[in-house]
Amino acid sequence: MKPSLFDYVAPRSVDEAVGLLKEDSGAMILAGGQSLIPAMNMRLASPSRLIDIQNIPGLSHITIGNGKIAVGAMARHREVELHDGVAAANPVLRAALGHVAHIPIRNRGTVVGSLCHADAAAEMPMILVLTGGSVQVAGSDGGREIAAQDFFQFHMTTSRQPDEMVVEAHFPALPPGAGFAFEEFTRRHGDYAIAAAGCILTRNGAGAVATVALAACGVSSKPLRLAAAEQILAGSRLTAADIKAAGDAACAAVTAPGDMHATAGYRKHLFATLVRRAVERAAARAQ
């Protein structure tokens, strides 16, 4: 469990980092290293060059404004989790971050690193999808913004180009009066989700659902919005039958095959439960 030979560079600017990426297709960006370093030690990843972005000024920010939370590429999970402004603007981030690994790992790992790593069972990619967020990338041909739905392609695959670096992630604030919930099941605390469901919903004056977003991770090859379940809930008075129907509909999104931690049947059963609980909880929190 030792990495194979690699070069190490520590650029001082985003431009320099992007230039280095362009120059060497085998190079990889190193952020908090909590996913990349273990992968290198197991020789699952053998980058020719590590581009350590830690020393680039201006990447560690967490700013709130214009209806969104902006998280810089070097902002650590733990900084985002403990940020009161973040919790006020959109508490679902804090709710989810408590499930990301353990504190020592959150102290080093970054939210943007997690998005770029794009594990299909990871929490923060799902939160980006749930909130309808986006990432801002810098590339040798300039920058672009990529919506969450377009960013995540497959387990550990994003639409980021090899010579692009993500500089910031944008998580929209919680809509006024909205309720939220994040429900996850793992066999041990801090593990990647066997399944997780997130919900953000608002209710109209009559108590029926005005807007609803439901998303999932751990059940498919990438984080998903649960459109069929959302449709069932749109305008619903949130009867037990509607909530159950939403849970059952969500199950159709479960395409992950059975694995050593969950049979396919169990994961479906579990997921329906998590979706129901997420909806109930979000509804209870909505004004």
Partner: protein
């Protein structure tokens, strides 16, 4: 003597050092110019090796040597069968480096020695091995079927050992039974996963001809014996040191692992120190594992629930080789009747070769499996007879007056009889009933159910034969300069706190502070008679040996001090590091006593003046030491137990199952245990707690997953789920102390105790919780959410 230290909650001597990071583990030992090792390991569970091409690896910059079976000389052998037994024929053991065939994924095929581990791994990737893979069968029950692919062509049906033991007259008892309960239970494979993986370093001194080996082993003296005989070196030219070791749990008692021979060989050949630091993946695929057993048990009972006979036939997975003999299966088979009278027993096992990592004892060593079988069977019998689970146990537990209770005909893993020596089984059960408020549990359960919660009560009793022989020794000496007490024994610690409990034992005899007792163990230069750390035996065997030696030193010290103080020996006591005339302030420090008993020529300090030849105290005719007298305050003695001493305990839990998440939450966990007299209750609790945590691993989380080709799917801590601290509930530990009648200290072992009953407790609690939902039976651990889902789905 001042207040007794035996029984006191004394903090562990070693902790400050370990917590400050000042421990010295093998990788911390500075060895100038050391070379590092990496192995080429088999990617196939069973294959024929056509050829091995090492040329690219040899040419790789930084590589010092590449070894295969063809250039390891005397090491191209099958390694020793450690514990021979008549139930095995032609027992198969591994070669340090594979010749012709490989038998499991991870088996060592070639060894690279290079300037650093990075380079060694790079070079390992360059070794080109041409394999011809063979068919394999990993499933234990299929591996014994006719026509199943064989691991070793020499062993039909893959049967490595077959053994039947009988106690009493099972056939005639069975004929009188009024009820029979039959059950199949299964415990899956796990691994010890010590925090520090295995490690070996070696250095050869060409001038003195001395080979020094640092080995994270539980058995340094045996390792030295093996090295001396295989390398044909004088024993005193081989020194084996087990320094700080980060957990062993049995995995490190096996000898030899390939590296333990190959690393010293390379150090001797290459003239430089060589180090092998096993990494986590290698620990999974290369270091032994344990647990898979499938039991078919039948209990023959009277209508009253009294069990009069037991039949058990089980399959034991021994992996690709059987270097430790049948120990695990033998312990399981002799523990099979648990704490119950059951006077008639027929127990059979077949140890089966599977093309997987070899199986040798892991903390518990067959006991968790035996406990799971008998306890699940007892629960089922209670259910069938309409009896309460406490009641069925009460009707079968051995009563206090029945001890010693012999299971005539069963031979334990030490080759000696099974004799449960002492205990208060009924009292332990009654305590548990009370702690869990068992009589009112049914109504609590019904009430919870009305609120949509599913609560269950889990219960299991265990017994544990501990403190196995053959023997250990203790060497005790009082230092003449400092008056500190120096203690040695032949076994070694992997973090259990020997330095503290052995200090308590010695300090009690010699009247010193426990922190003034210096324990040096695990170093063949310090003491080289003894066996190893295994089978919950250190406190029993080494503890009693040290106790005996300390008593001899005490007698010597009292006699010498009496002479010096011109007092009657009966009036002298040892306390606070000195010998005192009782009730007076007349004293002489132990250092001075130790000095005075050592006739000297040179007066190097004040105390020494009194011991020189012309000092008044020494003036007598004839030799300074009489015939048969030894200098100083020093003694060595040994303790050899007559047979194992049996500890026991009962565990109970209140468990909640969420049928929607299929999750298990332990609301309350109670452990009542009895390991005889406790030397240090805090250390006992630490051992029990750690055991329970490891037991919960096996009960709910940990399973080594092989795919059908024999590839391990979770050889890492991402997917092999060792529970975190967050998964371990609070545990209430209650002590009973029934002194062992077999040894002077009255102690029994406790190292393995905690893990034994946990699987049975969890299964019984989950089953109870889901009864109302028709959840069925839980007879297989680990119990996973998927299993619970399947059970509820079938309901």
């Amino acid at each position: 003597m001042s207040t007794r230290l035996f029984g006191a909650r004394i903090k562990r001597n070693i902790d400050p050092q370990l917590l400050r990071g000042e421990g010295s583990f093998i990788d911390d030992i500075p060895l100038a110019q050391a070379l590092h090792v990496a192995f080429v390991r088999s990617p196939f569970a069973r294959a024929r090796i056509n050829s091995i091409d090492i040329s690219a690896a040899v040419a790789h910059p930084g590589v010092a040597a590449v070894y295969t079976c063809d250039n390891v000389g005397a090491l191209d052998i099958e390694m020793p069968l450690l514990i021979p037994h008549s139930s095995m024929h032609d027992a198969r053991t591994q070669r340090p480096l594979a010749r012709d065939d490989v038998y499991y994924v991870g088996q060592t095929v070639a060894m690279i020695v290079a300037v650093d581990r990075y380079t060694a791994e790079d070079a390992a990737a360059l070794v080109d091995v041409d394999y011809d893979p063979r068919d394999v069968e990993v499933d234990l029950e299929k591996a014994i079927l006719d026509g199943a692919p064989l691991v070793h062509d020499t062993h039909e049906q893959n049967i490595a050992a077959h053994f039947v033991q009988v106690s009493g007259y099972p056939d005639s008892a069975i004929a009188q039974a009024e009820h029979v309960t039959k059950i199949r239970v299964q415990v899956d494979r796990s691994t010890a996963a010590p925090m520090e993986c295995r490690a070996v370093a070696a250095q050869f001194d060409e001038v003195t001809g001395e080979l020094t080996v640092w080995d994270g082993t539980q058995a340094p003296i045996s390792v030295r014996g093996g090295l001396a005989s295989i390398f044909k070196l004088d024993e005193d030219k081989v020194r084996v040191i087990a320094p700080n070791v980060g957990g062993g749990f049995g995995q490190k008692v096996l000898l030899f692992y390939p590296d333990e021979l190959l690393v010293p060989m390379a150090a001797m050949q290459l003239g430089r120190p060589v180090k092998y630091i096993e990494d986590r993946r290698e620990n999974f695929v290369g270091s032994s594992q344990e647990r898979t057993q499938i039991h078919f048990m039948e209990l023959y009972a009277k209508k009253t629930g009294e069990v009069i006979a037991l039949r058990d036939s089980f399959l034991h997975d021994t992996g690709a080789f059987i270097p430790y003999g049948i120990a695990v299966a033998q312990v399981a088979s002799t523990s099979i009747a648990g704490p119950y009278r059951i006077p008639n027993i027929w127990v059979e096992f077949k140890a089966i070769y599977t093309p997987t990592v070899p199986v040798t004892p892991y903390r518990g060593c067959g006991r968790p499996q035996a406990c799971f079988a008998i306890e699940r069977a007892m629960d089922q019998l209670a259910d069938e007879l309409g009896l309460d689970r406490f009641e069925i146990r009460r009707r079968n537990l051995i009563a206090d007056h029945e001890f010693p209770y012999d299971r005539e005909g069963l031979i334990f893993a030490d080759g000696l009889k099974v004799s449960l020596d002492s205990g208060q089984y009924h009292k332990a059960l009654a305590m548990m009933e009370e702690r869990l408020d068992a009589p009112s549990f049914a109504s609590a359960q019904a009430k919870a159910r009305a609120e949509g919660k599913h609560l269950g009560l889990g219960l299991a009793f265990y017994v544990e034969g501990t403190g196995l022989g053959p023997y250990e020794g203790g060497h005790v000496r009082i230092h003449p300069i400092t008056g500190k007490v120096y203690v040695n024994t032949g076994l070694t610690s992997q973090g259990q706190g020997h330095d503290t409990v052995f200090a308590q034992i010695a300090a009690d005899q010699l009247g010193v502070k426990p922190e003034d007792v210096i324990l040096v163990e695990g170093d063949t230069k310090a003491f080289d008679w003894g066996v190893a750390t295994f089978a919950s035996r250190a406190a029993v065997v080494s503890g009693n040996a040290i106790h005996k030696s300390a008593m001899i030193v005490r007698r010597k010290a009292l006699q010498a001090a009496a002479n010096m103080l011109e007092a009657d020996v009966g009036d002298v006591e040892l306390k606070d590091g000195a010998a005192w005339v009782k009730g007076t302030d007349r004293k002489v420090p132990l250092s001075a006593v130790a000095t005075a008993t050592n006739p000297l020529r040179y007066a190097f300090n004040e105390a020494a003046q009194a011991a020189t030849q012309f000092a008044p105290a020494s003036r007598h005719d004839g030799p300074s030491l009489d015939e048969g007298e030894h200098p100083g305050l020093e003694a060595t003695d040994y303790y050899s137990p007559p047979c194992a001493t049996w500890a026991y305990g009962v565990h109970g839990a209140l468990i909640e199952v969420d049928p929607e998440l299929c999750s298990v939450t332990i609301r309350k966990y109670v452990c009542i245990h009895d390991c005889g007299n406790m030397i240090n209750p805090m250390i006992v609790e630490g051992q029990v707690m750690g055991g329970i945590a490891q037991g919960l691993g096996g009960a709910m989380y940990e399973r080594i997953e092989f795919d059908e080709t024999g590839n391990m799917l979770n050889a890492n801590f991402v997917d092999f789920l060792v529970p975190y601290a967050t998964e371990i509930p609070d545990v209430e530990i209650l002590h009973l102390e029934t002194p062992s009648p077999l040894n002077a200290l009255g102690v029994k072992g406790v190292g393995e105790a905690g893990c034994i009953a946990v699987g049975a407790v969890v299964a019984s609690g989950v089953e109870d919780a889901l009864k109302a939902l028709g959840g069925g039976k839980f007879r297989h651990t680990p119990i996973t959410p998927s299993m619970i889902h399947a059970a509820l789905d079938a309901a």
